[in-house]
Symmetry: C2
DNA sequence: TACTGATGATCAGCATACTGTCAATTCGAG
DNA sequence: CTCGAATTGACAGTATGCTGATCATCAGTA
């Protein structure tokens, strides 16, 4: 390993940096100002209405602390509501607003475009293989980070 | 694309998150407190003594603004020196200190280990292919980010 | 030489992400 | 049922990374 350009860590960071830039550009041209994390959180709250912050963090593999700030900003934008759970007063229950639903519908095409652009250097077969390897690598190393992916029991998660 | 887990952007972020965590753990167990960016900067300053901050930023594909803070912390740790260039008074010239050299030598094995751990879910052939695709994708999308990789003229860069 | 555009560095500001710590609350073992 | 462990959310602190702006300096040209 003579060079940092031969290191997976460095290249992965590079691609992630590119992915964020592309995401921003696409979403902005759709008329919205939403970060990748905010988008992931929105999508998950829509599929899991009434989810609490800690469970949401596990589903998208983010740290609890980070999610608090993300949710703050989504509430501020009027895309989410957050209220104390009736069954567990520690937990804050998250739900999408009408505004959030509408925004997500309009943002989704931009996000699709962004995903294609990120791998625009690869042909279709390469992209498929790349995704398979990405999934395999992240699955195997899931517990190396403080914020591992945690499936909810009964949740299909990554299954097709 | 039914799910965020099928999106390259999401998976790349995940792997990057894992890579940073693994890097931290390994470097810490070697007795140092250095981030991936700081490491990349150190390596590049060693191979390019007397480099200025903007060129350094281009070589490791970071934003100029980000590098300023990184260099600040490396100077504070005593790993780098920063002084005004004699030929261009706008530029700050960077050089490694003895301390920095010594630290880098001791950190390198930990970084090697980290790189292996990041792809520990893949066998050797898969890892090689994954790296090839990573490089291809990042090369193609290089200019999508504000901080593209910029080779110095006459610099071998990524060549073997 | 004076002007213009490009470049290097810095600053303010925003949004991740992490560690570590804490308080409030819930839950399970005895 | 009670007490200790676990969980949820929050806060402080640090380090990336980005955008947009400003300032000093340099280089090429009229």
């Amino acid at each position: 390993m003579k060079d940092i350009n031969d290191m997976p860590g460095h290249l992965v960071r590079r691609l992630q940096q590119i992915a964020v830039a592309v995401f921003h550009a696409q979403v902005e041209s759709a008329g919205f100002d939403l970060t990748p994390v905010q988008y992931a959180a929105l999508v998950r709250v829509r599929t899991h209405p009434g989810i609490d912050q800690a469970t949401l963090a596990g589903l998208i593999a983010y740290d609890r602390t980070t999610i608090a700030g993300v949710v703050d900003r989504l509430v501020q934008k009027g895309f989410l509501t957050r209220e104390v759970s009736g069954t567990d007063r520690r937990a804050r229950v998250l739900r999408m607003t009408e505004t959030g639903e509408a925004a997500l519908d309009r943002i989704e095409p931009a996000v699709e475009t962004a995903q294609k652009l990120i791998l625009s250097g690869l042909d279709e077969a390469e992209a498929t293989e790349f995704m398979r390897l990405l999934r395999k690598a992240t699955d195997a190393a899931n517990d190396f980070s403080r914020a591992p992916l945690r499936q909810v029991s009964g949740d299909p998660g990554n299954a097709k």
